[in-house]
Amino acid sequence: MRSAFIVIAALLALAAVREEAGAQSPAVVEQAIKGSWTAASPDWQARLLQDETQKACSQYRNAPPRKVADKIIAREKTTIKYPADGKLMGDWKKGEKLAQSGYGGRFTDYPPRAENGGNCYACHQLSRKELSFGTLGPSLLEYGKDRRFKDDEVKSAYERIYNPHAVIPCANMPRMGANNFLTIEQIKDLVAYVMSPESPVNK
């Protein structure tokens, strides 16, 4: 009985060490970050601070345990704002331009010379004619067609672009809406780009 207890204690200790392996304490990390961006203005330095979701996804390296994952989904769902008129699809042609543009948010992009882009092609295949696409995300070719252009799929696409963590906790994709990187109007245009039957994505 006693030896079993010792074994369990040893296993617990080992598990604790495992979790710590390779990780530096948050205090040391924050100190290093503070000391490494000294030339940045306070509002730029604020970009280095993490919210709860970024913290959890960093800690678990994008593979959060079930309980943490559920918390992320619940929290991120509350961030999603919908268009006042309830229309989730905008103009796919504008959406295509946004999907191509990687402009915005970099320190050389200020003062802004254009609207922020969605930069979708950096990571996704979308239309057949654009061959310069990245592969970090899944191919979205015929995304709407595959989903039979259904209304609930339109809503799902809107939510996934607005805040992917509300669906896939610790997704790699940016929270375009929740982080105020794109506006509701822009997200509607992107939804149209992937969900509209007229869009080259579905041709």
Binding site: V28, G35, R47, C57, S58, R106, P174
Partner: protein, 273 residues
């Protein structure tokens, strides 16, 4: 007629598409051809101009103290340049800090030559089609003097172990308006941004293939690029503010990557797209 028009438009778009793909493949092929040429004739590497310039700068008496960098201790003792880069970043007792090659060169220019730190780091990186900066030339020279050596990072000192742990944690740290971390792009095999291939850096086999290539000569820029510059550009792409030159964050990330690449060959400066 209508059918023909449709057919023609299909053909046109296929040709256009193939043209785009071909252009990209051409670039890749040209860079590969360039690499092969360099293998046949290593002296045709334009990055070696920076090595030469770096060597001249290293040996020249300069600065308010009219001294050369020949007495600079890169970790293996004053004046020992051969193989020093293979063991960087490392802990330096005289500053009680872990330093990478660039940080140490800045420190030597400050202490031995008497240059003001602010002046040295005012413009550390060259822009496209400019010749390399002094720091780029010096870093490329020092790295080149480790060709034939393998990465052998020290973890003897507690601060070195701390830098490694910090680097690993930073690699997976998500932040900024796009929620990016290094691992967003560099934690899987065979991925691309647009058509640009991405190394799976947290996998030792892939880190070993690329780490020894830096500082690298970039054909598209016509200039050498250092590891500090490479990581700074990643943070720019991640929508974070401009990181300080020779910062602890970049040194720690370099420490992490060099440890992953432990035992691999140094071939700097290599040729990049």
């Amino acid at each position: 007629m209508r059918a023909f028009r449709k057919f023609a438009s299909v053909i046109t778009s296929v040709l256009l598409a193939l043209g785009g793909l071909a252009a990209q493949e051409d670039t890749e092929r040209e860079v590969e051809r360039y690499r092969q040429m360099l293998k046949a004739d290593p002296w045709s590497n334009p990055g070696l101009l920076d090595v030469d310039r770096g060597e001249a700068l290293w040996n020249e008496k300069r600065g308010p103290k009219n001294a050369s960098l020949e007495g600079c201790d890169l970790g293996k003792g004053p004046g020992k340049v051969d193989g020093a880069f293979a063991e960087l970043p490392r802990y330096f007792k005289d500053v009680k800090r872990v330093m990478d090659v660039e940080t140490r060169i800045v420190w030597c220019m400050e202490k031995l030559q008497g240059f003001a730190r602010a002046d040295i780091i005012k413009r550390p990186y060259s822009k496209a089609n400019q010749s390399g900066t002094e720091l780029e030339a010096l870093a490329t020279y020092v790295a080149n003097r480790s060709n034939g050596y393998k990465f052998k990072p020290s973890l003897k000192y507690r601060k070195e172990q701390e830098a490694l742990a910090l680097g690993e944690t930073l690699f997976f740290r998500r932040q900024g308006p796009m929620d990016f971390s290094c691992s967003t792009c560099h934690a899987d095999s065979g991925k691309r941004i647009r058509l640009q291939g991405l190394p799976f850096l947290s996998k030792p086999e892939e880190a070993r293939k690329v780490m020894g290539e830096w500082p690298a000569y970039r054909v598209s820029q016509g200039t050498v690029m250092t590891m500090q510059h490479r990581i700074t550009d990643c943070y720019w792409q991640m929508r974070l503010p401009q990181i300080d030159y020779a910062s602890d964050v970049v040194i720690a990330l370099t420490m992490y990557l060099v440890n992953l690449a432990k035992g691999s060959d140094i071939t700097a400066p290599q040729i990049k797209r």
